[in-house]
């Protein structure tokens, strides 16, 4: 990224700077960014990429040396799980003009946020001492470790994963796990146009690259306001390809989930699992789904209702798969008190 020709160097310096960082995430967001295909060349043509650990070599020290606000656009994916994540969040906030919570992890915790169901000990036990783990001495990661050469450290885990906006001020939110590539391309185009003065950026705090409605609104399946006597699992039911999945007893999160993905999963025959997060106006994603799921149950008898609900094997996991850290309760009591 550093052209040798002095003329191009001058031109490159005039370009706005771009950064992308990953905290507690899987790396799928960066793949989604690369999936915008040749538009990635527009990113390179219009931005100078200064910091993007997954794609290029750069050190934290390089970022620390920058002026405040020197980075024009920073896409942040991942939740805040440890002290390193938190430190870099504050650093990149200071150095960036526009900080985007990019992808479900940064917006609402996503899959790493499911750790908010359990105390740290359980998480570490699961990672280091299950049947399938080869760890005869039961070795655990230590935040500090004394070696003959000196003490070494690794980041320390927090008892709760937090979303980016629970730690620093965020300018825009871009939901999705990962955000759909055509949505990313549209946002990139918009930012480039805005930098040229040809378009206006949305107001601060806006959700970009997604719709305002629900997945149900984009879903072509037919709804007949039918109620159900049992919940089933999608792999065990032969679902009708035309009808609403929830009305067939398949737990589909469409009613509370933000549109923007073109209802890909229900169209393909799988239930919506909610990766685009809460729709506009939904305060608590799981609470909205509780209301929606309870409405399709066809029973007025408490015992029968309980029997039908037994078909939902893991309701909290179903309703908060992507949203636990960003929900009103944020974490279970066990994680909050760290098992104490």
């Amino acid at each position: 990224m550093s052209p040798k020709n002095p003329k191009t160097v001058e031109k490159a310096q005039a370009k706005p700077k771009f950064a992308m960082y990953w905290a507690a995430s899987c790396g799928g967001c960066e793949i989604a960014v690369l999936n915008i295909h040749e538009k990635i060349l527009d990113v390179d043509a219009n931005f100078e990429i200064v910091f993007w650990p997954v794609a290029m070599d750069a050190k934290y020290a390089d970022v620390e040396k920058m002026e405040d606000g020197e980075i024009t656009l920073c896409l942040w994916n991942g939740g805040i799980r440890n002290d390193e994540n938190e430190h870099i969040a504050h650093l990149l906030r200071k150095k960036s003009k526009i900080l985007v919570a990019f992808g479900s992890c940064a917006c609402e915790g996503c899959i790493p946020g499911l750790a908010n169901f359990s105390p740290i000990k359980e998480i570490v036990d699961t990672a280091f001492s299950t049947i399938s783990t080869d760890n005869p001495e039961n070795i655990r990661p230590q935040p500090h470790y004394k070696m003959p050469e000196g003490e070494i450290t690794i980041p320390t885990l927090y008892s709760m994963l937090r979303t980016l906006d629970q730690v620093v001020d965020v300018d825009y939110y871009m939901p999705g796990c990962p955000p759909e590539s055509h949505q990313i391309a549209a946002v990139v185009e918009l930012v480039i146009a805005a930098l040229k003065g040809e378009a206006q950026l949305p107001p601060k705090g806006a959700t970009i690259g997604a719709g305002n409605s629900t997945v149900c609104d984009e879903c072509p399946r037919k709804r007949n306001l039918k109620t159900i006597k049992e919940f089933g699992r999608i792999q065990l039911i032969k679902a009708d390809p035309e009808l609403c999945l929830l009305e067939q007893g398949i737990p589909c999160n469409g009613p509370a989930t933000r549109s923007g993905c073109d209802a890909r999963c229900p169209i393909a025959g799988a239930q919506c699992i909610g990766c685009y997060g809460p729709a506009e106006g939904v305060v608590d994603y799981g609470a909205r789904l509780i209301a929606a799921f309870a409405s399709v149950i066809d029973s007025e008898k408490p015992e029968e209702i309980d029997k039908i609900l037994d078909g939902l094997v893991d309701p909290a996991g179903q309703f908060y798969r992507f949203n636990l850290a960003g929900s009103l309760l944020r974490a279970s009591k066990y994680a909050r008190t760290n098992g104490r």
């Binding site: 000990k121 230590q142 927090y158 909205r288 209301a291 309870a294 408490p302 309760l329 974490a331 279970s332």
Partner: protein, 158 residues
Amino acid sequence: MSDTPETKPFEPIIIGFTCNWCSYRAADMAGTARMKYAPNVRLIRLMCSGRLDPTFVFKAFAGGADAVLVSGCHPGDCHYINQNYKAMRRFQLMKRVLAQLGIEPDRLKLLWASAAEGAIFAREINSFVEQVRALGPLNWNKTSFTIPADADKEEVPA
């Protein structure tokens, strides 16, 4: 927790959602009949228990309530035909989700009370307050809401 004999007994904060047509009238009746009941419940009147968005309950717990009461007309008596059945289904599902998040099912109560049942309403509230008092404070808004610099970092034992 403070369970030393000198300290004052724990007074739970309970948010109660009542419907306009039956349970709020029951509370009203208890009041006009000068029946005394524990002052721990803060009542919020809704038009119908079917208006109860589960979000209200989650918000109450997130904001520091120790328990939540949901109250409406007896089954079959709903002013809006059958919305109290909807409230019942939501309640049962909500209870399961909250239990997975570590909120004891006993912190949630569903109470049917007609406009004539002021005495039942008062009695049920008294027993619910004692039930929650026995559970102790929930303190959702005080635990780990922000992470202190060092206190919250876990040293994992070797």
